[in-house]
Symmetry: C2
Subunit: 579 residues, 2 copies
C-alpha cells in the first residue's frame, strides 16, 4: 500500500480538506491498471460471450420508486450506534466484532442491543456510553429537481436495477431469446457507516456485473460442461460454515450444480468463469474460494449467494465478487410496482390444454327478446370474455342479470366446459448475477504482484497485459546522443503503448524504478546502439534477461512479449542478467 | 433519433415508471459507440500527449467544502419560475426565449422578473400565473453518513475540482514539471430545471476533460506552432456576436493567440486538437466553429470561454465541448479554503534581488546586559525572523521592548537594509480547460453518419474505427452447411471484434440491417464458399464493393479496412455492386 500510494496508484480523497473516509482517488498508474482490469473483464465476460451477453449503461441517480420496488429502501440497511458522549457513529455489528471478537453479521436489532448491554460495549474512542442501535439506510439520497417528497431519488448501490427495469427492451432487441445476459460497468455508491478499511470498504466504487436471465425450465447451459470441466473450484458451503469447518471442498462446477451445492446452473457457470478471471489477474487458483453466505447474511433478493474470497495479508481474506441467485425476485417486484409486462415468452413444444368453465349466450334468444335493441345488447356483451360473463352470472342469484344497466334474463346464458390449446407461455426468467468490484480486484492484483527480492529490491510482477506502463526507455549514460535516440524511440512507441523515459543516476536505478511500477519491458540504449544506431536491448522484468533487437523490430517483440511469449525465444541474441 | 432508439443505441430512462426527463440509457450499440468515442478521445488527448498529460479518477460525491471553495455553491445556479396554478417549474431564461423569442441567458433576477411582468409571460402548459423567479442551485445534494449539516455533500457537476484539489500530488509525481495536464473521464450530474431536449440536455452524463496547468510566464507551448499550422479553425468572437455578426472568422490557432483573440496559448492548442478530434468523428471542419461566450454567459471561474459548436438539424447548433481559460482561479480558491500549499515552483534564471529592512541585535551588548540570563534571551530572540523583530520594534515607542515577558532595551537593536538573492519562486499555474460531453459527441456522430439513399435505404456511415459492431456474417441462403461455416467464422472472429450473424429473409435484407447499424464489413457465405470451403466475400458498407478472400486472410483484411484502407486495393478479386 505504501508503494501504491508513493508511486501514484491511489491515495485517500480530499486530502487537502482533511480527507473523507470511504473515498479514494486513482492516480495516473491506478487509472491505467484499473482500466486494464475493467477491459479484461469486459473481454472475458462480455466479448467472449457476445452471442448472448450485451452491455448497457443506465443512470446512477434513480427515482426512489426503483429502489422501493427493488426492496432496497426497506432492506438495504445496517444498524448503527452513536456514542452519547463524543457522537461518533459506528456500525453495530462491526463494533461488536471488533470489541468482542464474535461475528454479529445479520443479527436483529434486539439481539444487537442485548449484546451491547450485556457486555457493556462502549465507545472504542472515548469510552462513552452507546445509544441503542438504529436502522440506517445505506442508500445515498437526493432530489431530482426541487426538494419535495415526490422528487426523492436514490443513488444506485448496484447497477443491477438498471438491467431489470430495462429487461423487456433488451429482450426485444435480442429477438426474445434466452438465455440473455445484460452487463453493466459503472460507479455505485453505498453510504457505509464509518468505513475504516482504507481502499477496501469504499463508499464509491466501480462495479462490473451481469444480470443473466434464463428459462429455469430450459436453462440451455451446455457451456457448463463444455467450458468448465477442466478446473475444479473451491467452495466453502453454508453447511460447512455452520458446522465450524473452514476447509473448502474442491469440486467441478458442473458437479456442484448436479449435487445441488449450487442451485442454478448459470450461477455455477459464471462462478467457473470468475475463477478463471481472477486467475488471469495473477492469483493462484488455490488462493481463492467461494464462500456460501448463511441465510442471515444474504441480501433480501437472493436465494443463494457465494462470495468469491481471495486470501490477502492484511485482512486474511477479501471478497472480490459476489454470485447471487436472484431467481425471479427483482422482475416480479418491478411487475408489481410498475404494472408493466416484464415477462419472457416460452414456446411450448406440446400445447398446454387448458380446461375452463365459461358462459355463452344464445344469440337467437336475445334477438327474439330484445328486437331492435338486440344490437345494443350484443355490443355490451362483446366487451366481456366468456370467463368474465361466468363471473357475472355467478355473482348474482337473480333471474335477471344486469350488465351496464341492461337487464338480461339468465335463461339466455349457458355454462359450458371448454378446452383451449396454448402454444406460448409467459414466465418470469430466473437470474444469476456475478458482480465484481473493480477497486478490490485492483487491490489483490497489486498485492499478488508485489515481490521483495534479495537486497530489498521490489518487483511488481503484474501480468504483462495489465501493467499500466508497458515500456520503459533507459539510456546507459545521459549524453545527448543517447537521449536523442531515446526520444526517437519514445515518439515511435507512444502512439501504441504507454511508455516512459526512465530517469535516475544509474542504469541500475532506472531498472529498479521500472521494476517497482511493474513495467514489463525496458529498452536500453547503450554504446552499441549509438554507434550502429540500429539496435537496442530489451530487458524482461521477470527474468531480467535481455535480448539485442533491431529498432525496427521493437513493436513486434513487445507485442508478442505482452501476449505472454518468452522474448528470449524469438531468435535474437540473449544477454543473461549479471546480478 | 428514431433509428437510434429502435436499434438500441439509446432510449429514455425509467420508462416502465413513466420516465424521468434528463436521463437516458445507452443500449448495447450505444455503449459500444460511446466507449469507442471515449477511447478515441483518450488516445488523442491523453495517450498522444502522455509526456505531460496523465489521467486520474476522483469521486462523484464530494464534501460540500469542495464546491464552496470552487464557487459553485454560490454561482452554479439558474433562475426558476413556478406556475402558481399547476406548480410546474420552468427555467426562467429558457421560458422567456421560448415564449418571446429573445435570448435571456445571463440576465439578473430583476431583469427576468421585469420581462415576465411586462410581457405577461404565463405558464405554457396551463396558462397559469407565474411566481417571481427564484435562484435554484444546480448541484445535486446528499449527505455522507447521517443527515446533518456538517455531512452535506454535493455530486460533482464537472470533474475539474478533482484535478485542482489533487494538483500538488500529481505535480510532485510528475517531478514538478510544467506544463502538466490532468485528465479525467467520468460521470457528472447537474440538477437542470425541467430539461426538455431529450438526450441533449441530460442531468447525468459523461464528461472528458483536461485541466492543463502551465506557467503563464513560460508556457512552453511550442506544439501550437508545430502541430497546429496545417488547419485553420473557425471562431465567432464575442465582439462579433455583440455586433450581431454570425459568420465565424477562419484563422490559424497560433495567429488567434498572437492577435489576442484567444488569450491563452494552451487554450488555442487544445482548441486546435478539439477541431481535429471532432473531424475524426466524421464532422466536416466547416460544420464546426468556436463561439466565444459573452462575459454574462461565462462561468464564474472563467476569464475566456469558447464553446465548440456543431451544426445539427434539430437544434441548429449544438455545443459539444467547452474551452475555458480558468487562469489561476480554482487553485487560488482552494489555497484560501484549505490553507494548503497548491503552488508550483519556478526556477529563476537570474536570481531575484529582494531588498528589505530587518532588525538585528548586538550579541555582545546583550551578554553584558544580561550576564547569565543572556542564554535565555538568545533562545527567545531566535524564534523570530529579522523581519518579525523589525515589526515588534516598530509596534512600540518605548525604550524597552517586551518579548515573551522579557524586557530588552531598544539600544541593542539596529535596523538595516539587506539584499537577498532568490532563485526559486512560488506561483499559481494558469489553467486551460478543454471539456467534452461524451453523449453529445455520440449524438453528432450518429447525425453526421446518417444517410438516406435512393429508395429509402438507410446507411449509418460511422467512421469505421467507431462502429459498434465491426463485422456482420451473412449466409446467402439459410441452409445447415452455410450456417455451419458462418458459425465457424463467427467463433474465429468474436475473440477480436464485436461480430453479428445477420438474420433476415434475404441477403438484401441482411445487408440493409448491417448498413442501418453501421457495420463496416459484411462477410458473405455463398455457394463458392460452401463448395470450396475456403473463401468468402467481404463487402464494404460505404462502397458496397465486395472482394473474394480466403477465410485465413479475414482478420488481416478487416484490420486494415478498419484502419481506413480501401479493401479493394489489397489485390483480391473485386465484385462491383449490382444495384
Amino acid at each position: 500500500m505504501n508503494l501504491a500510494i508513493r508511486r501514484g496508484f491511489l491515495w485517500p480523497s480530499f486530502e487537502i480538506y482533511g480527507g473523507q473516509s470511504g473515498f479514494y482517488d486513482l492516480g495516473p498508474l491506478g487509472v491505467l491498471l484499473k482500466n486494464n482490469i475493467v477491459e479484461l473483464w469486459r473481454e472475458v465476460f462480455v466479448k467472449q460471450h457476445q452471442e448472448f451477453v450485451v452491455e448497457i449503461e443506465t443512470p446512477i441517480i434513480n427515482p426512489a420508486i426503483v429502489f422501493k420496488a427493488s426492496g432496497h429502501e426497506e432492506h438495504f440497511t445496517d444498524y448503527a450506534v452513536e456514542c452519547t458522549s463524543c457522537h461518533r457513529i459506528f456500525r453495530a455489528d462491526h463494533l461488536i466484532e471488533e470489541v468482542l471478537g464474535t461475528n454479529a453479521e445479520g443479527l436483529s436489532e434486539e439481539e444487537l442491543n442485548k449484546i451491547i448491554k450485556e457486555h457493556n460495549v462502549r465507545c472504542p474512542v472515548c469510552g462513552g456510553e452507546l445509544s441503542t442501535v438504529k436502522k440506517f439506510l445505506l442508500l445515498f439520497q437526493t432530489y431530482i429537481g426541487p426538494y419535495s417528497l415526490e422528487n426523492l431519488a436514490y443513488l444506485r448501490p448496484e447497477t443491477a436495477q438498471g438491467m431489470f427495469i430495462n429487461f423487456k427492451r433488451v429482450y426485444e432487441l435480442m429477438k426474445r431469446r434466452l438465455p440473455l445476459g445484460i452487463a453493466q460497468i459503472g460507479k455505485v455508491v453505498r453510504n457505509e457507516i464509518s468505513p475504516r478499511q482504507g481502499p477496501i470498504r469504499l463508499r464509491e466504487f466501480t462495479i462490473m456485473e451481469i444480470e443473466f436471465f434464463y428459462d429455469e425450465k430450459n436453462p440451455q447451459c451446455e457451456l457448463l460442461d463444455e467450458r468448465c470441466s477442466d478446473n475444479k473450484i473451491y467452495i466453502l458451503t453454508a453447511e460447512q460454515r455452520i458446522q465450524g469447518e473452514t476447509k473448502p471442498i474442491s469440486i467441478l462446477p458442473s458437479e456442484a450444480y448436479k449435487e445441488k451445492i449450487i442451485l442454478s446452473p448459470w450461477l455455477a457457470y459464471w462462478m467457473c468463469i470468475a475463477g478463471k478471471f481472477v486467475n488471469m489477474l495473477g492469483i493462484p487458483l488455490e488462493k481463492t474460494y467461494f464462500e456460501e453466505k448463511l441465510p442471515t447474511e444474504r441480501a433480501h433478493y437472493s436465494k443463494q449467494t457465494f462470495d468469491q474470497m481471495v486470501l490477502v495479508d492484511k485482512w486474511g481474506k477479501l471478497e472480490v465478487s459476489g454470485h447471487a441467485y436472484r431467481y425471479s425476485y427483482d422482475l416480479e417486484r418491478h411487475i408489481v410496482f410498475s404494472k408493466s409486462d416484464l415477462y419472457a415468452v416460452r414456446q411450448l413444444k406440446e400445447p398446454l390444454i387448458v380446461r375452463k368453465r365459461v358462459a355463452k349466450y344464445d344469440k337467437v334468444a336475445i334477438l327474439k327478446l330484445f328486437g331492435k335493441q338486440a344490437g345494443d345488447v350484443f355490443k355490451k356483451l362483446a366487451k366481456y370474455s366468456p370467463e368474465e360473463l361466468l363471473k357475472i352470472l355467478e355473482s348474482s342469484q337473480r333471474d335477471e342479470i344486469e350488465i351496464e344497466g341492461m337487464k338480461i334474463p339468465r335463461t339466455v346464458f349457458t355454462v359450458e366446459d371448454v378446452e383451449e390449446k396454448i402454444w406460448v407461455e409467459k414466465f418470469i426468467p430466473h437470474v444469476a448475477e456475478p458482480s465484481f468490484g473493480a477497486e478490490r480486484l485492483m487491490y489483490i492484483t497489486l498485492e499478488y504482484a508485489y515481490r521483495e527480492l534479495e537486497g530489498g529490491r521490489v518487483v511488481l510482477s503484474l501480468p504483462k497485459k495489465l501493467a499500466p506502463i508497458k515500456v520503459g526507455i533507459a539510456t546507459l549514460i545521459d549524453k545527448p546522443q543517447f537521449e536523442a535516440l531515446a526520444s526517437r524511440i519514445y515518439n515511435m512507441l507512444k502512439m501504441k503503448y504507454y511508455v516512459v523515459i526512465l530517469e535516475g543516476d544509474s542504469i541500475g536505478k532506472k531498472y529498479a524504478y521500472a521494476d517497482e511500477v511493474g513495467i514489463p519491458f525496458v529498452i536500453t540504449i547503450d554504446y552499441d546502439s549509438v554507434v550502429e544506431g540500429s539496435t537496442v536491448t530489451v530487458r524482461d522484468r521477470d527474468t531480467r534477461k535481455q535480448i539485442r533487437v533491431p529498432i525496427a523490430d521493437l513493436a513486434k517483440v513487445i507485442d508478442l512479449g505482452l501476449e505472454g511469449k518468452d522474448i528470449t525465444e524469438f531468435g535474437y541474441p540473449v544477454i543473461e542478467p549479471k546480478d
